[in-house]
Symmetry: C2
Subunit: 316 residues, 2 copies
């Protein structure tokens, strides 16, 4: 079960999952624990800490169960994971998570490459996952999100017809998802497309069932897209520290939006995140030490905070 937060927006740090999944080296479990604890300590309300996938596919995330167990010892942070199938969901349930996200690529070509399943097979997985969740005691049931991956276009298929996206969103809800999310896996989104897709997907699933978006900064539009999404009513934003991340199965796609820059944008606008930005900037050192060969970036970290900048609300 997810916790309630009082900030205006919820920033979900996906670096430990999306970032590390794309890293060339493997972060030791002990370093993950340290990094995640430090992130939580800044007030990050939700962290996607790993993926329940076979270790041979993503060795970087082979310790996800251990990392979940550690994160569950930290008060005030929701533990999210990615699960590609029923087996992953069962492992997530056993580990105890607050939220699980099933990625369903609206590009069937990408779906086959990414999780080796057709759309029809993915819907079956989601139904089974729903049943597995419902079989758990009520207080242990995580939120189930169906993520519409490559929603803004696919590096293999190009644009995906809107009717297909809407049909998939509806079917995901019918298969038992609590919510759907939009994912710009490939960095193809632009602010107008973000607004439009939010509007039409909310039209079929209802506003309360689409609240989050996962953006990449591949073409530099990440924060503009986040702004458009916020103004269209979304309140949950995935981001990764230092812009780590990407999808190794989507050629040319790279880098989530930078958590530090996103937090700065919202806080500068007077939109509270509940995250202590000064503390967050300090956590980059932990990431750098833990993954010394992995490039990270961030404009706000490089430039520093503006003279006289104060966050309206600090972490509770």
């Amino acid at each position: 079960m997810t916790q309630s937060h009082t900030a205006d927006v919820l920033i979900s740090e996906v670096g430990p999952r999306d970032g590390l999944q794309n890293a060339s080296s493997i972060m030791p479990t002990e370093a993950k624990r340290r990094w995640i604890s430090a992130l939580a300590n800044c007030g990050i309300p939700e962290i996607e800490v790993g993926s329940f996938v076979p270790a041979k596919i993503l060795p970087q995330l082979a310790d996800t169960a251990e990392v979940v167990a550690h994160t569950n010892t930290i008060a005030g942070v929701d533990v999210a994971v990615l699960v590609p199938n029923l087996r992953g969901a069962q492992n997530a349930l056993a580990a105890g998570v607050d939220k699980m996200t099933v990625p369903l690529s609206v590009s069937e070509t990408h779906s086959l490459k990414n999780v080796r399943r057709t759309h029809a097979q993915m819907f079956e997985e989601v139904r089974s996952i729903r049943a597995a969740i419902d079989a758990a005691p009520e207080r242990e049931r995580p939120q189930l999100e169906g993520s519409l991956s490559t929603a803004f276009g696919c590096t293999l298929e190009g644009a995906i017809p809107e009717s297909k996206i809407l049909s998939i969103a509806e079917t995901l809800m019918a298969c038992g998802c609590d919510e759907v999310g939009l994912s710009d896996t490939t960095g193809y989104a632009d602010p107008a497309a973000v607004r439009h897709l939010i509007k039409v997907v909310r039209g079929v699933v209802g506003n309360e069932h689409l609240t989050g978006i996962h953006l990449h900064n591949t073409r530099g539009l990440g924060l503009a897209n986040a702004l458009a999404a916020f103004e269209s009513g979304l309140t949950t934003f995935d981001a990764s520290m230092g812009g780590l991340g990407g999808c190794p199965f989507a050629p040319g796609a790279s880098g989530n939006i930078v958590t530090e820059d996103l937090v700065f944008m919202f806080e500068a606008m007077g939109v509270s995140t509940g995250i202590d930005l000064d503390a967050l900037l300090g956590v980059r050192e932990i990431l750098r030490e833990a993954l010394p060969d992995e490039p990270i970036y961030g404009f706000t970290p490089d430039a520093g905070l503006p003279l006289g900048f104060h966050q309206l609300k600090q972490t509770a």
Copy 2:
């Protein structure tokens, strides 16, 4: 006199001025000619080609008169320059330009560092410049813009009171400017501040007298700020190829928004720029050859255009 353009927004390439002013090496005049011709050839409708300042202050721009003369031979592009004072404006008039911008830093501390003049002295300069323009034959009179530099905060003074900004905007118009522009010299702006300042400044000068904004990407918010400005009704956007640029007198301020990423954002949204994006990406090679030691960046150039991406309208 400026030309009429049919695109939805006007992108003013300021790399040859703001970019080169901040470069550690000096681009040879011949390379500037080649670069500017190539930019114009992509459909860039306005280029800020230099500053009429003493060569000992900005040796990078010492050849501005020659560069203006060259740019005037290219059909379809407006020639803009920066002038800090009457002497500069006289030189600009003699060279023949379509637009001159006088930077007036709303932070008086920055004004003194940047142009060594108080606000009162700057207003006097603007009045003299207006008189000099009016003394020219009507068809040779350029547009006169007063640019509100450090409008979103100053690295030396921090936030500048809104009442001071509004008073300066009004006075600039009273001194004979045709329009005022907003300049985020320091990269302090955020989308909410952009919207607010546009609204209040338009309130005192009239919508038709504030149409342009000059943004830096110092904290990564450049395109989000451009989006906010566009949605608030602005139509002229300064940007520099590869994010060259910055102000050497404002510590920590660096890099205009990247022209290539800005053009991609607008074109992806269906907002026409009149610029051929494919051709523009090719011009980076000319810049790289001309300034091999200067770092340039750009997300869209690195990632390439999305599969199936087509511009709605190409260059006329």
